[in-house]
Symmetry: C2
């Protein structure tokens, strides 16, 4: 694990710094209750006569949010899985993070600590981090990620005393603000960073994902990413993106995808006869032949069309093949 703006650092064992955080624990419903919500309980009553102020427009939750990463003036960076009892050998991991693929594999409802770092700013109090889940596939990129019907069911145990029934991506933080962009329909969760705890140089926030990637009628086996935007006065001043797969066997699935990545690098790519693992990982996507997935580390767009060796292609590359191709250009 490493800060994403310095992605090739070695692992940083920081578990002992946060002994009180247990990311594997069940979601504590009472934490939700305290959370302030900027959503009205009834989403239908949006135009109450008193509420005439136009809701603020925010690029970060627009129809097609950018997934280009930049650290910005505050040198915004994040670190997955820091301060986690996850690192302890005796604790069963409920999530895995692959630095190589910049992808989080997590069980539904498990808390994942994400640590944010800021420089050039003494006062963090007006800095907020927004987390938004999006679909990777360009076909779906404009579709808000919604919870499936089963998980939205108020009688579902994950919704006990939980006002954020519609949010796949939630946050175990008492000041978390759950928002719905009424123009795009996207759900996101915003947290004020606050000061890092004494002696710490980053602030750690627990996130959890309350639908599976496979949830029928919801994500439906589509690939997703979390977009973290650093915001000040409703303006985006930093952005990072992490791939995420919510599944029952994070370790198995990560290993599977890593194995595919390594055994197929450049060998399987030039050939047609597409087979196993159509996309980045085993999740199959319906459409294929897409341009660069928006989730890999920022690439000059020109490379998409100009840097491809003009080898003969018998069928269009699918999502995964394109991902892998650019991945190998970057790291191979």
């Amino acid at each position: 694990m490493s800060f994403l703006n310095t992605p090739l650092d070695g692992d940083v064992p920081l578990a002992e710094l946060h002994p009180s955080i247990d990311p594997g624990a069940e979601i504590n419903a009472s934490d939700y209750q305290i959370a302030s919500s900027q959503e009205s309980e009834n989403e239908a009553e949006k135009e109450s006569p008193d509420d005439v102020k136009p809701p603020p427009f925010n690029q970060a939750t627009g129809e097609m949010p950018s997934t280009e990463e930049f650290s910005g003036h505050y040198e915004f960076s994040l670190l997955m899985g820091v301060g986690s009892v996850n690192d302890a050998k005796n604790v069963k991991k409920s999530w895995e993070y692959s630095l190589k693929m910049n992808k989080l594999y997590v069980k539904v409802g498990s808390a994942v600590p994400v640590s944010f770092k800021i420089n050039n700013q003494l006062d963090w109090s007006d800095l907020k981090v927004r987390a938004l889940l999006v679909y990777d596939n360009p076909d779906d990129a404009r579709t808000p990620v919604e919870r499936c019907s089963s998980h939205k069911d108020p009688s579902h145990k994950s919704n006990k005393d939980c006002p954020n029934v519609n949010h796949v991506l939630c946050c175990q933080h008492r000041n978390a603000s759950y928002e719905r962009d009424q123009y795009s329909g996207r759900y996101s969760v915003v947290v004020a960073l606050g000061e890092p705890q004494a002696g710490a140089t980053y602030a750690t926030i627990l996130y959890m994902l309350n639908c599976k990637s496979s949830c029928e009628g919801g994500i439906s086996r589509r690939n997703t990413s979390i977009i973290f935007t650093l915001e000040k006065n409703n303006k985006v001043c930093g952005r990072h993106v992490v791939h995420v797969r919510i599944c029952s066997c994070p370790k198995r699935d990560m290993n599977q995808e890593q194995e595919f990545l390594s055994c197929s690098t450049s060998s399987m790519l030039s050939r047609g006869k597409k087979r196993k693992l159509d996309h980045f990982g085993p999740i199959r996507i319906k459409s294929e032949g897409y341009p660069l997935p928006s989730l890999l580390p920022p690439l000059p767009v020109s490379s998409l069309n100009s840097d491809l060796p003009p080898q003969p292609r018998y069928e269009p590359l699918n999502y995964m093949e394109v991902s892998l191709h650019f991945f190998s250009l970057l790291y191979g």
Copy 2:
């Protein structure tokens, strides 16, 4: 296929008798609209002041409906899959029926023709057939079978203009009456048999199942059966039971279960080390060591405890093993 009260008859090719019925067709939503419903639209308003008549109690939809088969005075019998273009070679089958296992394998939402036969009664008009879906496992036998949240979602395509959102088991018949037993909570569908069509000796009704056996939050991979009761004046005067599995690959799954049935008959049974196919078929059940499943042809209960050869058992037989055991006693 054969009438169930004469289960070892040969196949009866009757497809040509009902050339107009296409069981493989998509559910026609408009058929639903005409169906009269005895359920109030809003299930909450049960005690409206005008509606003081106590709702009729019916054994057939009680907490623990009997699954014992009997043909009764009217020699009630049924036949699966009659009059079906399903029999034609060029039509892709959306369901399979195993006479050997008395089990229907069907894709979700596909119409399955079930033919009912009555004797000793010139006027069929006051005879009704109720169809009720129940769980086989005694642990769940008292639990009403409900649709899963996803399929109940009004925006789900299977619910277009369909008032019977809560019913897994539906019926393509314009006079179908959808009922909910307010004591047990069970959903059932009732059809007046009417006269058989000219030249026919049975009445054929199309049923469909609108959740999968695997539906999370619904049937959840539990085994189910359909109970067909012949009723006259709200009294049960005949009963037949058919196992049913609602799945994506009826043929594959039927073959799988048949294979297991044949290869394991008596060989695998006496041994512990239980593994593959815990239950009747591949659907795993949570609990095990149950008595006789209620769906096999009626057996003297005494046989359960007395006819078992007292072979040494290292672990309790699970549901499937018990099913298989009695199955082999009957037919083996």
